[in-house]
C-alpha cells in the first residue's frame, strides 16, 4: 500500500519551496508528486527539480472544485505506469494543493475513490503556515483556517524572516488544531522524516498518543483573543464500552447534523463486541474511514475517547447524543435478547 500525503497551505506559504527542497533529499526519494496549480498555465512544477527516482505530475484548475475526478484518474494512471515499469517505482505520493484549495473535498476524493482501494492509503495532511503573514491570512481567509484545522502536521515557514519567535501565531495554531504537531522550517529546511512519517493509522502510537493526550473532557475555543471562535475542539471521554451499532449511529448523526462543519474526528473506542482491541476511528466531515483495530490497548486506560475539531460544535450536545444512543441501543438490545432465536419454538 502506498501512502498518500496532501500538502496544503495558503498562497505564498512555502509549499513549493518545501517540496523543491525535500525532493532533493535522499530521505524523500521515490516520491511521486502531483501539483495542482490554479490557472491554466502552471508554473510551480517548473520550479521543482527532482531526483531521478522522483517525478512530478501536474494538474491545473482547482482540485477542490472542478477536477476531483481528474485527481482520481491521475492517481490511477500513476499506479498503472508504476506497475508497467514506465514510471519510477515510487513509494509515496504527495499531492500539493493550490493555495486557495479547501483540502476536504480533495481528501474525500481520495478516501472515496473505489478503484484506489487496496493500493493507496491516506497518510495525512501537512499544512504550511507563513510565520510572517500567517496571522493576517487566518483573519482574512476562511480557506486558510480550514487548511490549518484539518492538518496532521503544521509547518511554520519563513521563521528566519522574523525578529522574534512567532509565539502568538503558534499559540493560535495550537488552539485551532490542538492535536496537530507543529514543526518549524528554518531557511526552508525541515526534516522529511518528521514531516511525512505516517500519522493516521493503527501503527502510529505516538500520533495516537498526541490525540489522546488532548482528550481531557472539554470544549476549547479557537483562541482567547476573539478570533476563530467558531472553530472548536471538543474532547469526549466515557467509561462504558459501546456496542458497534451505537458507534455507527453516532457517526451517522454527526454526519447528518454537523456535515461540513466537522473538520476532523479521531478517536479510540472500546467496543463491546471486541473489548481487547480498541477501534481507531477517523473522519472528516461526513466521510469516515473504516475502523482500524489496534492489536491491544496502548495503556491500562480503556476508556473511549473522541476528539473533534470543527465549527460550532457543542460538547454538551455530543455527550447528550452519546448517552441517548447508548440508552436506546441498550434498550433495543435488551428487547432483542428476550426474543426467541430464529427457528426456536
Amino acid at each position: 500500500m502506498i501512502p498518500v500525503w496532501v500538502l496544503t497551505g495558503f498562497l505564498g506559504s512555502g509549499k513549493t519551496t518545501l517540496l523543491g527542497r525535500l525532493l532533493k533529499s535522499p530521505d524523500f526519494s521515490r516520491t511521486a508528486v502531483i501539483i495542482n496549480e490554479f490557472g491554466e498555465i502552471g508554473l510551480d512544477h517548473d520550479l521543482i527539480e527532482t531526483s531521478e527516482e522522483s517525478f512530478v505530475a501536474l494538474q491545473t484548475g482547482c482540485l477542490c472544485c472542478a477536477v476531483r475526478d481528474d485527481l482520481v484518474l491521475t492517481l490511477e494512471d500513476l499506479l498503472r505506469r508504476r506497475a508497467a515499469g514506465t514510471a519510477p517505482p515510487f513509494e509515496r505520493i504527495v499531492i500539493e494543493t493550490s493555495g486557495l484549495a479547501d483540502p476536504a473535498p480533495i481528501l474525500h476524493a481520495l478516501m472515496l475513490g473505489p478503484t484506489l482501494a487496496g493500493q493507496l492509503v491516506v497518510a495525512g495532511v501537512v499544512t504550511t503556515v507563513d510565520a510572517v503573514n500567517g496571522w493576517r491570512t487566518l483573519d482574512r481567509h476562511r480557506e486558510a483556517l480550514k487548511q490549518v484545522a484539518v492538518a496532521d502536521r503544521l509547518l511554520l515557514t519563513k521563521t528566519d524572516l522574523l525578529d522574534a519567535p512567532a509565539t502568538r501565531l503558534t499559540a493560535r495554531l495550537a488552539a485551532l488544531n490542538p492535536p496537530a504537531r507543529l514543526l518549524t522550517a528554518t531557511f526552508g529546511e525541515v526534516e522529511a522524516a518528521g514531516l511525512f512519517d505516517l500519522v493516521c493509522g493503527s501503527r502510529a502510537p505516538a500520533e495516537l498518543a498526541r490525540w489522546l493526550a488532548l482528550s481531557a473532557p472539554g470544549e476549547r475555543r479557537g483562541t482567547q483573543h476573539g478570533h476563530d471562535t467558531e472553530i472548536v475542539s471538543v474532547a469526549i471521554v466515557w467509561d462504558r464500552p459501546m456496542r458497534a451499532v451505537g458507534l455507527t449511529l453516532l457517526l451517522e448523526v454527526l454526519a447528518d447534523h454537523c456535515g461540513g462543519d466537522l473538520l476532523r474526528l479521531k478517536g479510540l473506542v472500546n467496543i463491546v463486541e471486541c473489548p481487547e482491541r480498541p477501534a481507531v476511528i477517523h473522519g472528516m466531515q461526513h466521510v469516515f474511514h473504516p475502523p482500524a483495530w489496534l492489536a491491544r490497548w496502548p495503556s491500562q486506560d480503556r476508556r473511549s475517547r473522541l476528539v473533534l475539531i470543527g465549527r460550532n460544535l457543542r460538547q454538551a450536545w455530543i455527550e447528550a447524543l452519546l448517552t441517548a444512543l447508548e440508552m436506546e441501543v441498550a434498550e433495543v438490545h435488551g428487547v432483542a435478547a428476550k426474543l426467541p432465536a430464529t427457528g426456536e419454538q
Partner: protein
C-alpha cells in the same frame, strides 16, 4: 399521542436546539410525552404504540411521523423546525488509514 419519554431524550432534544442555534424549549406534557416549541413550531414527541416497527412518533398538529430511533428523531425534528435542513449521509471511505 401518549407514552412516557425517557429523560435522556428530553435532554438530547434540548441540547439539539442549542446545537442548531434555535431558541426553543422542550417540556414534558401531561401524558409523559414531550412538547417542543421553537418560534412558530410546536411538535409533540411520544413513544410509538406497541406493534409498530418504530420507536417514536413526531406530531406537528396535522400529522404524525414515525421514526425508528434517535437519528431519525433528530432528523425529523430538525426538518420540522428548519425546512431548509438537508441531512448529509455518512459515507465510509474506500481507502483505509495508513497501516
Amino acid at each position: 399521542m401518549s407514552g412516557a419519554i425517557p429523560d435522556y431524550l428530553a435532554a438530547l432534544l434540548q441540547e439539539s436546539l442549542a446545537a442548531w442555534g434555535v431558541a426553543g424549549v422542550v417540556s414534558r406534557s401531561a401524558d409523559g410525552g414531550l412538547e417542543l416549541r421553537a418560534a412558530s413550531v410546536h411538535l409533540q414527541i411520544a413513544r410509538a404504540p406497541p406493534g409498530l416497527p418504530f420507536r417514536w412518533l413526531v406530531g406537528d398538529g396535522d400529522r404524525n411521523r414515525a421514526v425508528s430511533g434517535v437519528p431519525g428523531l433528530l432528523r425529523t425534528v430538525r426538518a420540522g423546525i428548519d425546512p431548509s435542513y438537508r441531512p448529509i449521509a455518512a459515507r465510509i471511505a474506500a481507502l483505509p488509514l495508513a497501516p
